[in-house]
């Protein structure tokens, strides 16, 4: 069955960055359609019908998010595009920024028109230097062609778009951490409520959307919300980019409908497991998601099914691990990341991530104790639902799921002071 390519239509095509080429292939047609023939409310309605959900990690219905912006406010409204892609395993937004930046800009125009926003900032992670250059070039081209500026596409609608580089902090992908960073401060997430839709950037109503989420808008406007919804599954509309990596033969970005079985992504599109070894574990939605065992590989890749299974679709970053990967060391690597990225503001995250990392380091070094496992489970509980933002929960979920689902590996490592996988590889010939 041919897979619908919406945002990845021009991936791999060097010409797609050029405005003239892009316009010839329908670039900005949808934006024009929205501006000329639809009211802002109609645009929001289409997006709501489409069941488009936030593709940065939280999966919040996009149309509903937009509707939280107060209609009658005399404050300026802002859009911030979250291009701070830093969830381990995620690299899909980078493709959009590098191959098809005009699609993003078009999505930005549609969103801003729908909500009544005239100033948008793209917050792009500092490490993405070349994608930043390409995006900035596209923005410059757009301004020159009158696509951005006082009269967008010649219509009576003004929109300014600025690209703002981050400086190396995963927490700035958190909505309010992003806002703080944009305002020139440390990326310390804010207390909520109020939510950004009411009090956001510079205290004004703000929409924050992921790069990919916005990049789906042109096709939604072109073909209608229902068309998009039908591509996916119930309450999870359309397709999305999956970033597949780890022990697969063909790591890369794959655009697939919401509801695709995980097995299909790994074996059909990803080419199966490296060296044809047995699959052991899959991280389905970036490092913050709960790990799945190989028996769970038939799960449907949509927000609701994964939530029901105790994990999450998250950023669409699927990382496959085969039998040769030590689960203890894998968790150690993941918790190192969270300890490094914790902003330090609140107690459970600041101290919890550090403590978990130290404990795992000790276990990996061969000095674990039986009590450590029990303690790790308690830390996972104490770090869930007690912090200011979801980074702490994001550290707690892999912690709890790895220890629970691969308990035997942890027990082995502690008892015998070495990795089960290593020990096994000496006894079992591959």
């Amino acid at each position: 069955m041919p897979i619908k390519k919406i945002v990845s239509e021009f991936f791999g095509n060097e010409d797609a960055r050029r405005l003239d080429w892009r316009i010839q292939r329908g670039g900005y047609e949808a934006a024009r359609k929205a501006l000329r023939t639809m009211s802002p409310e109609q645009v929001i309605e289409e997006v709501t019908t489409s069941n488009l959900r936030g593709l940065g990690g939280a999966g919040f219905p996009t149309g509903r998010k937009w509707s939280f912006i107060p209609k009658d406010t005399d404050k300026p409204k802002y859009l911030t595009v979250n291009a701070d892609e830093a969830e381990p395993g995620t690299f899909k937004d980078r493709y959009i920024l590098e191959w098809d930046p005009h699609r993003l800009i078009e999505g930005v125009i549609i969103c801003c028109y729908a909500v009544g926003i005239h100033k948008a900032y793209v917050y792009i992670r500092g490490e993405y230097v070349r994608p930043y250059e390409r995006l900035q070039q596209a923005v410059d081209e757009a301004y020159e062609a009158g696509i951005l500026g006082p009269k967008v596409l010649g219509e009576d609608f003004s929109l300014d778009l600025y690209v703002h580089r981050g400086a190396g902090a995963y927490i700035c992908g958190e909505e309010t951490g992003l806002l703080e960073s944009l305002e020139g401060k440390k990326g310390w997430p804010r207390l909520k409520p109020p939510f950004p839709a009411v009090v956001g950037l510079f205290g004004c109503p703000t929409v924050i959307n992921n790069v990919e989420t916005l990049s789906h808008l042109p096709k939604i406007i072109e073909n209608g919300g229902q068309w998009f919804a039908d591509l996916g599954c119930e309450r999870n509309g359309g397709t999305r980019l999956f970033a597949l990596s780890g022990n697969v033969k063909k790591p890369g970005v794959y655009e697939l409908p919401l509801g695709t079985p995980l097995r299909e992504l790994i074996y059909e599109h990803g080419g199966g497991i490296q060296d044809d070894r047995a699959l052991k574990a899959i991280i389905p939605g970036g490092a913050s998601s709960a790990v799945l065992t190989a028996d769970e590989v038939d799960i449907s890749l949509d927000f609701d099914s994964l939530a029901k299974a105790g994990s999450m679709l998250g950023s669409g970053a699927v990382i496959a691990m085969h039998e040769g990967i030590c689960m203890v060391k894998a968790l150690h690597n993941i918790e190192h990341f969270f300890a490094h990225e914790s902003c330090g503001q609140c107690t459970p995250c600041r101290e919890g991530t550090g403590w978990v990392y130290k404990t795992l380091s000790r276990i990996v070094a061969g000095h674990g104790r039986m009590e450590d496992l029990h303690a790790l489970r308690i830390h996972s509980r104490n770090m869930t639902g007690t912090s200011i933002c979801a980074l702490c929960d994001g550290a707690a979920m892999p912690l709890g799921s790895f220890v629970r689902k691969f308990e035997h590996e942890f027990e082995y490592y502690i008892k015998y002071k070495r990795s089960y996988v290593e020990a096994r590889s000496e006894t079992v010939s591959i």
Binding site: V129, G166, A167
Partner: protein, 163 residues
């Protein structure tokens, strides 16, 4: 002698300021611009930025100490960031790290003696997991690393770099 923007950078700075309703919001882009010009952020530059953005100097240092991309001391002519995050770890970045350390002769977080390279092995995912194991060389991503590729990269640097 105190730090000043070049004439061209003053223009860029004015453009940066015009994008935000207040000066503080220009903090990150201003620091990037200063680092581009100076190679790293010195204490002088901290004072300069604090003065130009009209913020207390302690706020500038808070920002500098929080983010990882601002250099606080001179780095090598080229800076390498080796990704050590989960997807790259699964694909044996540990070996690449050991090789880099051997080849460059200095541990992660240092500058080589000849000043050509500075490097760090970072736990942050750099967003190129399909190329695992990978590193960032200045502004470019180099992936599917092997010892040979590292040799090619470091030894071939004289000829400039492919995009």
């Amino acid at each position: 002698m105190s730090f000043q923007f070049t004439e061209e950078n003053e223009k860029k700075f004015a453009d940066i300021l015009s994008r935000y309703p207040n000066k503080r919001a220009a903090m990150l882009p201003t620091l990037h611009l200063a680092q581009e010009q100076n190679g790293f952020i010195s204490e002088e530059i901290e004072a300069f930025v604090a003065q130009r953005l009209e913020v207390p100097i302690v706020d500038v240092r808070e920002v500098l100490s929080f983010y990882t991309l601002y250099f606080r001391k001179p780095m090598g002519r080229h800076h390498i960031r080796l990704c050590m995050s989960i997807a790259c770890w699964i694909r044996n970045c540990d070996e690449i790290k050991a090789y880099l350390e051997q080849k460059l002769g200095v541990p992660s977080g240092s500058v080589t003696e000849d000043g050509n390279y500075s490097w760090e092995a970072v736990p942050d995912c750099l967003g190129a997991c399909e190329l695992a194991p990978m590193l960032q060389f200045d502004k470019y991503f180099e992936g599917n690393l092997t010892r040979e590729k590292i040799d090619e990269l470091l030894d071939g640097i004289q000829n400039g770099h492919k995009s």
